[in-house]
């Protein structure tokens, strides 16, 4: 993928058209050639092969099987595919249907009807390996996480089924065929163009001879697994750290000729190895491949070069498996004499591969190689069979081990460091282990240099520190359960308590539900604008709709969809909306501008397998920018043909589109609008009673009083609930000693008074004498001047006059200023900034009548 992104890739047909349809002006082909200019590799993918298809997220390509290839009239290259779903593509709520752990390599035979199976050829990334397995079978060893997958079950959007025997055999067939093709095509299709350097290296390599006793190794492993797996695993971990360097050093010693060419990297060796593996593949699709090869090698002459490569690469792998690799290290010498002409074959094959790349040695005995190998392999197959099973278990253990350790590294960042050390070598094992699959070879030859050895902390291993999940510490004591009926009522009346149903919003609910449902079924996009004053249940209703839709989707009444929610208030900047949407959709974290580009691309291009997205934008008005490009984009996407985006925009004001939006934005928003009216007192009453749910905590009249009061003021349900909650507290407080009683009118009235009473009058009454006189002086000055504004100087004169009348010592100007600023801080007065001193203008913040009333004792 890396290379694909960096270099131009040319897609061309392989071979002549198989058949062509004159009428439709299409022609079908049996394979396609993918040429990457930069890495100068050519890949051939044929019908029946498994491929990776570019997805919406670069890190998560789709897996598919190539069924058909054709070129249409417009010279567009198309491919028809059978999809495989990765576990991440399956909705989380369905995953639990599986009832088992799913490794990241597992895919599901996709039978979801909705997906478009016709894709553009350009989206094909490369070919991979998909191995069908029976449900009970264990995960084979040699699978590369990225390059091969295995399939056990099919997924039709609703449930998982075991693969039908028909499909299974077909897959198996395809797999074999794929392998066979790629194998045989080795001889005449340029598979890998390996740099000329490599040839030299190869000759160098050839001179080094250190075949390794694989049998011994397996045997020892066998015994080890028998004795104590856990112990072994443990010790192996310990050994991992230091084993690697020594082993490598040793290898270098072993091959003195090559030491001059010190720059021959392990990865290149691996490259060779997997090329070689390529050839053996057809026999067994899975784990045993390598063993086939090894057993073949056992009988090979010591002079053969590849054995060393292998031993070295095997070292890399083996040392992770084994703590006691001593026998292995000893074994090469004993093994030297076990030789056959097998390695020659391998050797020749290398030649073939690289030379074909150069178009030099293309004629060299292409057919004999695989055949002889096959014979060899068949001979050893019996031996392998039993070892494989052992290996498999071992492998699984290791895998579990790896998984668990990585799990733990996710869960706790503190352990992360140790795990890092432990994980990576194991990871390496894995990657080197996978090399035997034929398809992977091509990729690994491209990829390995970057991946296998140099970059030990593989991308994707411990991401832990970045997405560390912040968490508020757990509480030390359990939260108490509500004890009395009042407490219980209070709990239910809290705004956060999620009611079973939303009373009084049935109509709105139905409207929104119908809107989204119809769009979902049509697979189109659309916008809806929802407005209403705060506390009228807009967000709650929308959430309820989404919940119902999700439920319906789960029950297969509706196509499944993705739900994304953003809140204008929770964004620091309107452009952050892009970032958040993208993160919620795909999990990528990018900058705002980049996210906008990605999203636009996502929604504007036809994605083959994209689900409908339901996007809820809360507090829409805060996404306003001067150029309004955020809003414009948001509402533009649904109008795109392929977007499958449904937007529910929520805001407070009904006329927001007219008021702040430009015409082009408002027109894209469309006319689907809905406004939530403030609750009437009856509705509020119903809400409270439904929340209380026939609990006898409130008097009927008390509820009515609250709802009438709130309905008259704002119709805000939150306010209503808060008042009720406060009333329960007052009630509880009042009836402290007596038996618990229910909330009566008096309590509610008190709560309402507390919440709605104006604080000013009380504040004035409790002000100091001079502050009161100052207010009086202001009133007098207002009356004198007839203007509702005065300077401090004017008020000061009035104040002094008043003081004389009262027979009090008149304050100094500094004191007056202090009084003035105090009243200003309470916002009883509105004052200018104080640097004008005497000429500071003063205004009352409350009505004169209120002041008069407050001051009249």
């Amino acid at each position: 993928m890396n290379t694909r992104q960096q270099s131009k890739v040319i897609y061309s047909w392989y071979g002549e058209p198989l058949s062509s349809d004159r009428k439709l002006r299409t022609s079908r082909y049996k394979g396609i050639l993918i040429t990457s200019e930069r890495s100068r590799t050519e890949t051939c993918i044929q019908l029946g092969n498994f491929i990776l298809v570019e997805g919406e997220n670069a890190d998560q390509p789709f897996v598919a099987q190539l069924l058909d290839l054709y070129e249409d009239g417009g010279q567009q290259k198309h491919a028809v595919v059978q999809w495989f779903s990765h576990i991440t593509e399956i909705p989380p709520n369905k995953r639990k249907l599986l009832k088992r752990e799913v490794s990241p390599q597992e895919v599901f035979f996709d039978q979801v009807p909705g997906y478009d199976t016709d894709i553009a050829v350009e989206t094909i990334i490369k070919s991979v390996m998909v191995i069908p397995l029976h449900l009970g079978e264990e995960l084979p060893i040699t699978l590369n996480k990225e390059q091969s997958f295995y399939v056990k079950q099919s997924w039709d959007g609703k449930c998982f089924k075991a693969l039908s025997p028909d499909a299974f055999s077909k897959l198996k067939e395809a797999n074999k065929k794929g392998g066979g093709i790629s194998n045989s095509s080795n001889s005449f299709i340029p598979l890998d163009i390996i740099s000329p350097l490599k040839k030299e290296r190869e000759s160098v390599v050839r001179s080094a001879t250190k075949p390794k006793n694989v049998e011994l190794e397996i045997e020892s492993k066998h015994s080890a697994s028998k004795s104590s797996l856990a112990k072994e695993r443990h010790s192996q971990r310990v050994a991992n750290g230091m084993r690697t360097p020594t082993a490598r050093k040793k290898l270098q010693l072993n091959s003195p000729t090559r030491s001059s060419k010190g720059r021959l990297l392990g990865c290149e060796v691996l490259e060779l190895l997997d090329d070689d593996c390529d050839a053996i593949v057809p026999l067994e699709p899975s784990a045993n491949k390598r063993k086939v090869k090894f057993t073949g090698i056992l009988g090979s002459p010591p002079k053969m070069p590849c054995a060393n490569d292998k031993s070295k690469s095997m070292f890399d792998t083996a040392e992770h498996w084994q703590t006691f690799s001593d026998p292995i290290r000893l074994s090469p010498y004993s093994k030297v004499k076990d030789s056959s002409k097998k390695p020659k074959n391998l050797n020749r094959e290398y030649d073939i591969i690289c030379s074909i790349g150069h178009q030099e040695l293309g004629s060299q005995s292409p057919v004999s190689t695989p055949r002889s190998r096959r014979i060899c392999a068949q001979k050893t197959s019996a031996l392998i069979a039993e070892q494989v099973s052992i290996l498999n278990t071992l492998e699984l253990n290791q895998e579990e081990d790896f998984l668990s350790s990585s799990d733990s590294s996710y869960s706790s960042s503190s352990e992360e460091e140790d795990n890092d050390v432990l994980c990576t070598p194991e990871k390496k094992t894995k990657s080197s282990r996978m090399l035997s699959t034929p398809k992977s070879s091509r990729k690994s030859s491209v990829h390995t240099p970057a991946k296998t050895l140099k970059k030990t902390p593989l991308p994707g291993t411990p991401k832990t520190p970045r997405n560390a999940t912040p968490e508020i510490p757990r509480r030390n004591h359990e939260a108490q359960k509500p004890a009395s009926i009042l407490e219980e009522a209070r709990l239910r009346l809290h705004v956060s308590a999620i009611p079973e149903c939303l009373p009084c919003r049935e109509e709105e609910f139905q409207d929104i539900y119908n809107f989204v449902e119809s769009k979902l079924i049509d697979g189109t996009g659309g916008c809806m604008y929802i407005s209403g004053v705060p506390g009228t249940g807009k967000t709650a209703t929308v959430h309820e709709v989404i919940r119902c839709l999700q439920q319906a989707a789960e029950n297969d009444d509706l196509p499944s969809f993705q739900f994304v929610e953003i809140n204008g208030m929770k964004l620091t900047d309107p452009h952050q909306a892009y970032v958040q949407i993208l993160e919620l959709l795909t999990g990528q974290k990018v900058t705002a501008t980049h996210a906008a580009v990605l999203l636009a691309k996502l929604f504007n291009t036809p994605g083959p397998k994209r689900k409908t997205t339901v996007l809820v934008v809360d507090e829409l008005d805060l996404l306003w920018t001067r150029k309004q490009n955020v809003m414009y984009n948001l509402f533009d996407w649904p109008t795109q043909k392929h977007s499958k985006l449904i937007i529910l925009a929520i805001a407070n004001t009904m006329d927001l589109p007219e008021r702040i939006m430009m015409n082009r934005v408002a027109s894209r928003l469309g006319l689907t609008r809905m406004s939530f009216q403030p609750y009437t007192y009856k509705q509020l009453q119903q809400i409270i009673s439904s929340r209380l749910n026939s609990m006898k905590a409130f008097e009927e009249d008390a509820i009515q009083l609250v709802s009438r009061k709130v309905a008259a003021l704002s119709g805000d349900a939150r306010r209503c609930l808060d008042i009720c909650r406060r009333a329960t507290e007052i009630c509880e407080f009042a009836s402290h000693k007596r038996t618990p009683e229910i909330v009566r009118m008096a309590h509610v009235t008190e709560a309402i008074d507390e919440m709605f009473s104006s604080p000013y009058i009380n504040a004035i009454r409790n002000a100091s004498l001079h502050e009161q006189i100052f207010l009086k002086a202001i009133l007098a000055e207002f009356r004198r001047a007839g203007v509702e504004e005065a300077t401090v100087q004017q008020v000061y004169h009035q104040h002094i006059a008043l003081c004389r009348i009262e027979g009090m010592q008149s304050p100094t100007l500094s004191e007056i200023m202090a009084i003035c600023s105090r009243l200003g801080a309470c916002r009883l007065l509105l004052v200018e900034s104080s640097n004008k001193y005497l000429h500071m203008r003063v205004r009352l913040n409350i009505s004169q009548d209120d002041v008069m009333y407050a001051l009249k004792e």
């Binding site: 960042s413 520190p465 560390a468 999940t469 912040p470 968490e471 508020i472 510490p473 757990r474 509480r475 030390n476 004591h477 359990e478 939260a479 108490q480 709990l491 809290h494 705004v495 956060s496 308590a497 705060p534 506390g535 208030m569 929770k570 964004l571 620091t572 900047d573 805060l622 407070n652 805000d716 939150r718 808060d722 909650r725 406060r726 407080f733 919440m755 604080p759 000013y760 009380n762 504040a763 009454r765 409790n766 002000a767 100091s768 004498l769 100087q793 004169h797 010592q809 304050p811 100094t812 100007l813 500094s814 004191e815 105090r822 801080a825 309470c826 916002r827 009883l828 001193y837 005497l838």
Partner: protein, 395 residues
């Protein structure tokens, strides 16, 4: 009763995990912080609460914008160790991080968090009130239990909240006022001044306390306290006054006397501008008087230096025998000195083009202040005094 209310509220948050929000509103010096601290102290005495509660203290004067506030919250919640050495890239990331953190929790399992927003009114001015919205939103939804307590002195705080923020606020307001009368004031005065029982030198403490008791019954002291009480009920001003008085105490003067208090009150009541006038030269005083006359004649219209100079010239010409006639630049210099002392203030910003003589000015002193100051001014020429009393007196 406020204590009871707040205590109940916080207890419920910590014990039941109920989310709440409240505002404590009261004028400066009415004991908002004291109330909160008292409640918190009481809370922490309960073991169950102490181990359960996370406190986040924010001050509107320190956390001047949401970005800073978020960082501070993260720090006080000790979440930065989760983040490790990762630097917070952006404000957005930070906000998302914190919201994520708070969303994770639920009512029963997470540790309640108590947010205390001092100078709440300043948070209101943050852009979009994002922080407040999110805090209140959390308190109104089934996330980590939080209690948001705001402290402010603005009575109109609710009107400052944006409507959706306001809707999410629970409208629990605790109003504090200084509703005590003078008798209580006297009692507070005594309490403040008395030495505690645990004072090492017991005999001195007794003597001191008796003296305080005596003082509180003294007529002059009572008058003085009454005066202060009339001006402000803020207990801090009382404390300031007592501080001034107590700082006079030394070995030779071991007890506070009424005169000490009187002196202190005089000091604290001093008019700052009038004080400055005492230090002016005669010429400057003359200029001020000229300005005062101008103010009288033109009824507070602004004047410029030239007008003041002309007025001054008129006075000099009539009473030239007692005053030395200063050159215009000298007078200008004096005028500029007044400008620096901010006894005079230009109406508009001094621009380069306008000539300094014609810059319009306003006097920042009241007539009463000028006259008072003149009375106290030492060695003031009588002519000047007369001139000050009436601009027409010599005619």
């Amino acid at each position: 009763i406020e204590v009871q209310h707040l205590l109940e509220l916080l207890k419920r948050t910590t014990v039941h995990g109920e989310s709440n929000s409240a505002l404590i509103i009261g004028p400066r010096g009415s004991g908002k912080t004291a109330l909160l601290n008292h409640v918190l102290r009481e809370l922490t005495e309960m073991k169950q609460v102490r181990e359960n509660l996370l406190e986040v203290h924010l001050n509107g004067l320190l956390q001047t914008n949401d970005k800073v506030a978020l960082k501070e919250i993260t720090r006080q919640l000790h979440l930065e160790n989760v983040v490790g050495d990762k630097v917070f890239g952006s404000f957005a990331e930070n906000l998302a991080f914190l919201l994520e953190a708070l969303r994770k929790g639920d009512r029963t399992s997470s540790c309640p968090v108590l947010f205390i927003l001092d100078e709440f009114d300043l948070f209101v001015h943050h852009k979009n009130q994002t922080l407040l919205y999110n805090l209140f939103d959390i308190s109104q939804s089934a996330q980590t239990p939080v209690t948001v307590i705001g402290l402010t002195c603005r009575q109109d705080i609710l009107e400052l909240l944006e409507k959706r923020v306001k809707s999410r606020f629970s409208h629990r307001q605790i109003y504090l006022t200084n509703s005590f009368d003078f008798k209580q004031y006297i009692r507070i005065f005594k309490e403040q001044l008395s030495l505690p029982a645990g004072f090492p030198d017991e005999s001195f403490a007794q003597k001191w306390n008796k003296n305080v008791q005596h003082l509180s019954e003294d007529k002059t002291v009572q008058d003085m306290l009454q005066n202060l009480f009339h001006h402000t009920k803020d207990l801090r001003s009382l404390n300031l006054l007592l501080m001034l008085a107590v700082s006079n105490v030394n070995v030779h003067h071991p007890l506070i006397t009424a005169s000490d208090l009187h002196e202190a009150s005089k000091q604290s009541r001093m008019d700052s501008k009038a004080n400055i006038v005492h230090g002016l030269s005669v010429l400057e005083i003359c200029l001020i008087i000229a300005m005062k006359h101008l103010n009288d004649v033109y009824e507070g219209e602004p004047f410029n230096f030239q007008m003041v100079y002309n007025e001054f010239q008129k006075f000099i010409q009539r009473k030239a025998h007692c005053m030395y006639n200063f050159e215009k630049p000298v007078v200008m210099k004096a005028f500029e000195h007044l400008l620096q002392l901010e006894l005079v203030r230009p109406i508009e910003r001094p621009s380069v083009r306008a000539q300094r003589e014609y810059l319009l000015m306003k006097l920042l002193l009241d007539n009463n202040q000028i006259m008072d100051a003149l009375q106290a001014y030492p060695n003031c020429p009588t002519d000047v005094k007369q001139w000050a009393a009436s601009s027409l007196s010599w005619l």
